[in-house]
Amino acid sequence: MAFKHVQSLSERLSPFQKFYLIVIAGFILGPFIPLLIQSFAFRWAWPDLLPSTWWLEQRDKSMLPLAWDYVFSPYSRVWEATVNTVFIGSVVTVICLAICLPAARVLARERFRGKSAFEFFLSLPLIVPEAAIGIALLMIFIRLGLAGSYVGIIIAHLIPTIPYMVRMLTAVYQGLGRDFEEQAMILGANRRQILWRVTLPMLLPGVVAGALFTFLVSTNIFLLTFFLGQGQIVTLPTLLFSKISGGTLDASAAGITLIVTLPGIILLILSERFIKEEAFGKGFGN
């Protein structure tokens, strides 16, 4: 029923609505087009609209490795950076969930003294400049011997991601209400059964959205990773920064930029599917 409704809506898009959607898509996708062209260009000088020489044409003749050849070669450290980024992002997401689920539950359901103060402090990391947090952490971590380690970077990444995750999950918990868990209790379920059979499945769309968001934020953090990685741990954002810090966006930097967006895009597509089919497809709501 709901599905049909959506379809009939899209059939009724007016020309203006279509135009509007295209403009928005242009805004979002636009910046990628020059990157894409750049990464395949050999020579692309102003004021040409398109490169005068393409990468493939020059491939055999060139002495130097060209954009994509460079990106895929071990010298570029792209593979290493990708593995690091995905690894750090995944660990941060799991830890962040483990910390935020119980916290959100308490924030959504209990009233206690100092709750609003606590909520305020929770958003501080979003207000204080990242550079300040990074420097402060670095000084502490050097002393603890955590600078330049995965543990150090993961802890640093938790700082800006936890506030978002807590907020998101609190909202989901508030929407859930106690009734379902209490009903399960009355029906004889123990705590573990309630968590696995009732709470988590019902929170799933929110958990997936929060996890996705955390992962994307973590994979995009530059400054904290840069400070705390001490050059020993390369992630995609730090690698990209070292490429473009000269002030130009050459073909290989453009290639790396495109690689940087890949994990996010793949994840978005996967989770979109997942959320739709697993949860909303079965008619959540009421």
């Binding site: 004889g188 059979r197 008619g283």
Partner: protein
């Protein structure tokens, strides 16, 4: 089956006293309604019986055993929530079987009991639907089936009919009544609709502000309310202050009423009288044989199809009279009112207590 007893139960939330002090005994197999205005503590009482809330003081007993500190899972109670709380991610079948599957009942037995209970609630054809694909009445029956399948010793329902339309409510009331008699389960249900309470329950507990105001059969509650508040809540429209001038005479603002003498009331006492609107006879001319000598003028008429309601002005007072609409008397007519003395209910005037 199980006898449920609350003795001296009190519940305080922070600084707010939700339940003052309640003593209530529900006999095994009885269907009791908790009736009262919004916020009086009905849900809180139910939640304490279920074990979702611990009483601040007092005891809750099942068959004379104190269960006040027994965890919810071990009380073997069933509760249907006001908004049903069906698990939205499970089919009807999974919802109903939940209580058995968490108890690790063997598959074959679950299947057998599932088929049986779905048959009782007439939902066999809806097994594979999700709650979002059901109507209100169907959702309610799923909620009831999910509770009954665990064979609870006490069944509780929190305003089970509040979300249904009038016609469906009638059907569901009969359905619940039949089910309760068939299984003989001790049942407590909450409502703030007095008609529903009277139709369904063996006994009704009227709760005001965390007190048990009266606990009686529907008939007694309707005809012999203990206080004006109860009378008012049970829908009494003619409620007047009076003074007992003689054992069989009450003086009111609109004249003297002949009443049946009552041993517990003293002559000269300030009292309240209730005249049930359907017990009043309305005559178009005076009659020497009547009990009372009351007359007045019809100032309003409300027609409800089978019934018609007249508002009669007797001096300053307005009396409401209800009769079957076999005749219609015009507004402005002078009429004579009569009521049998034993149909007039007298209550001692309650000194107004200030409550927290």
């Amino acid at each position: 089956m199980t006898k449920v007893q609350l003795s001296g139960v009190r519940k305080v939330f922070g600084t707010f006293t939700a339940i003052e002090n309640i003593d209530l005994t529900i006999e095994s197999g009885e269907l009791v309604a908790l009736l009262g205005p919004s916020g009086c503590g009905k849900t809180t009482t139910l939640r304490m019986v279920a074990g979702l809330e611990a009483p601040t003081s007092g005891e809750i007993m099942f068959d004379d055993k104190d269960v006040s500190h027994l965890p919810v899972q071990d009380r073997n109670v069933g509760m249907v929530f006001q908004r049903y709380a069906l698990f939205p991610h499970m089919t009807v079948e999974k919802n109903v079987a939940f209580g058995l599957s968490v108890r690790k009942v063997p598959k074959a037995e679950i299947e057998e009991r599932l088929a049986e209970i779905l048959d009782v609630v007439q939902l066999s054809g809806f097994r594979h639907r999700f709650p979002a694909q059901l109507s209100g009445g169907q959702m309610q029956r799923v909620a009831i089936a999910r509770t009954l399948i665990t064979k609870p010793s006490v069944l509780m329902m929190d305003e089970p009919l509040a979300n249904l339309d009038t016609k469906l409510r009638g059907e569901m009331r009969r359905f619940i009544r039949n089910l309760q008699q068939r299984f003989g389960i001790t049942t407590i249900f909450v409502t703030h609709d007095q008609v529903e309470a009277m139709e369904l329950a063996d006994r009704v507990a009227v709760i005001f502000d965390g007190h048990l105001a009266q606990y009686d059969t529907p008939d007694t509650l309707y005809r012999r309310p203990r206080t004006t508040d109860v009378a008012d809540f049970m829908g009494a429209s003619n409620l007047f202050a009076a003074r007992l001038a003689a054992p069989d005479r009450a003086e009111t603002a609109f004249g003297t009423l002949k009443v049946s003498p009552r041993a517990d009331l003293r002559t000269g006492e300030e009292i309240d009288v209730v005249l049930r609107e359907e017990a009043i006879d309305m005559l178009e001319r005076p009659d020497a044989a009547t009990h009372q000598a009351l007359s007045g003028e019809i100032v309003a008429r409300d027609f409800f199809g089978a019934n018609v309601n007249y508002t009669v002005a007797c001096g300053e007072a307005r009396l409401s009279v209800s009769e079957q609409s076999r005749r219609l008397v015009d507004v402005g007519s002078t009429v004579w009112l009569d009521i049998a003395p034993d149909r007039i209910w007298l209550m001692p005037r309650r000194t107004i207590q200030t409550e927290i």
